[in-house]
């Protein structure tokens, strides 16, 4: 557990929770990034305005942080291009079919004690742990 960062995890997690609460209290919307992003693409109901605003804020965050000296490091993604594209398709299709992702189910849904979201969270966490165990300890490494 050499990389455990409990202080920044608490602060960052608190801010994520705060953003979800503020979005609901102020605008009555669920801060679920997969649903918001899907709506930006014109999928489902047609109310793009607020969705684009939320996504813009999300992308602006690292740019502002970089402007005041806290540059976000470039993400490390050692996987091959085929795996990256396949993973992207799975995440897109899966979150759409399952009705949410780490934010919509994992934070907003669990926060209102939805059994549906608790089930979804247990399943995607569980399968992701199995995939990492297989790729790192069974087939890889």
């Amino acid at each position: 557990m050499a990389n455990f960062t409990p202080v920044s995890a608490t602060i960052g997690g608190g801010l994520i929770g705060l953003a979800a609460v503020l979005l609901m209290l102020l605008t009555g919307r669920v801060a679920g990034v997969s649903g918001i992003f899907g709506g930006c693409l014109g999928l489902g109901i047609n109310d793009k305005g607020w969705r684009i605003a939320f996504i813009a804020g999300l992308i602006l965050a690292p740019l502002i942080a970089g402007g005041v000296g806290y540059a976000m490091p470039s993400p490390q993604m050692p996987a091959s291009w085929i795996v990256i594209v396949a993973a992207g398709v799975l995440v897109g299709f899966g979150t759409r079919l399952g009705g949410g992702c780490t934010s919509g189910h994992g934070i907003c849904g669990n926060a209102r004690l939805s059994v549906r979201s608790m089930t979804a969270t247990a399943i995607f966490m569980g399968t992701a742990i199995v995939v990492v165990a297989l790729t790192r300890h069974v087939f890889g490494g």
Binding site: G13, A19, L23, G35, F37, L97, G98, H105
Partner: protein, 153 residues
Amino acid sequence: MQLIATLSCGLIFGLGLLICGMVQPAKVLAFLDVFGDWDPSLAVVMVAALAVSVPGFALATRRERPFLASRSFWPTRTDIDRPLVIGSALFGIGWGLVGLCPGPAVENLATLSPRVIAFVVAMGAGMALHDLWQNRRPMMIGDEGTLAAVTDG
């Protein structure tokens, strides 16, 4: 006003992801790697987020309407159906392969990393593929798979 508030929420959400380090796929994968050099940080992130959002949402449900809009869009579904289970499993596989879920993936677009852009484009294609498939399939009684995407978040 509503759009400024929404943009600010996106900004706070993004700062949270940035500070806790979950914009880094490697950090997420280190959490998922329970049989390796396990990093429990993401569990702390979830607990901290819920510590704020559980009481916050309880407060929000007591209000008749949000401050800046005419109504709240609370998810209404409570059933555990097959699309929820299969969809979450497919999402988990993709998440475990690369370490990116939709929030951090979109935020990482700011780095203009070609691999992130490829992931996000593929993610959009996967979403479109799902809706295309749903719309072609004859709707069955009680089948509300397409609505789930709208109702949960």
